[in-house]
Symmetry: C2
Subunit: 167 residues, 2 copies
Amino acid sequence: MSDATSSLDPVQLGAYFDLIEVTSLLRHAVEQQLRESGDLSYVQFQLLARLGDSPTGSHRMTDLADGVVYSRSGLTYQVGLLEKEGLVVRAPSPDDERSVTVTLTGAGRELLAKVLPGHVEVVSGLLFAPLSHDEVRSLAGLLAPVRDHMRATPPRSAASRRRKGGA
Amino acid sequence: MSDATSSLDPVQLGAYFDLIEVTSLLRHAVEQQLRESGDLSYVQFQLLARLGDSPTGSHRMTDLADGVVYSRSGLTYQVGLLEKEGLVVRAPSPDDERSVTVTLTGAGRELLAKVLPGHVEVVSGLLFAPLSHDEVRSLAGLLAPVRDHMRATPPRSAASRRRKGGA
DNA sequence: CCGACTTGCTTCGAATTCGAAGCAGAGGTA
DNA sequence: TACCTCTGCTTCGAATTCGAAGCAAGTCGG
């Protein structure tokens, strides 16, 4: 363990705080827009968007949870809501009998198309407005390696479902 | 400036997605560390940290809520928890009788000092590890204007407590 | 001084979120 | 095949979160 990690530069601290604050504010604004324009929560929108991105319009539950950084149980709940609204469909996976495949319906695709422009507008106006295109490129270039690093780093104690406490 | 607010570049899209994902992963990891080392939620830690930053160790409720981007009612709840734990104290403000001033106690300061090193370590190892110091500086330089812009931009319909719906 | 409006915080009910526990299918080894 | 383990999802209870409504103090115009 390096001991040099015992403190953060003012520069680092600023970057960290700004990152948190920017994301919180952005999320807040986006949430509001989504609620007004399509009665969707941010999580629900993320799920629909991710499904819409897929060529087949479907994903497994686990992949969705990993993609959105969401607990399994919470995902079950939200997908249940989306299914009740007729925006997605759940079906057992052909390969793997325990897997559940979630697929976007026509209605889901429509709703996605309906809320997307407003969503983009909020993100553009809030996140990208103060940045030039080159700066956005820089930002993307800085975030990508961080994202990869985080994805590769196991969340502290990777022991998936081992018993936790005693020896 | 590009006027094309109707769609996002692939570059913009990537930056946006990475921003969300990075923050989610970071928050998740930090949350876990805080829970283990000091039985604090992220929000609670943020509140303590913000109080610790203040020269007087105290803030008004509203300023805390704004600083952490938190609903007022949620803040009341969390400050209540912190007070029950003896980490903070609530007192009416001298100037403004309706204002409540939240102040860090000795125990709060101790706990903060106890969890801070681990927190810093997680942030360093996850967020800053893949970046050089110059890159961190760049990141900070990019985020600062965005933060200022977001702070200055009223959240859609600024009508603070006006009635919402009607004409 | 009075009344209308604004601001600061809390209470309340409803919705969301998580982790632990449980069930069932899949994969490997003897 | 029998058994053991791991993976994928759901159910359950508890904790957190938010927005709407309410109360009290401050501010301004008359």
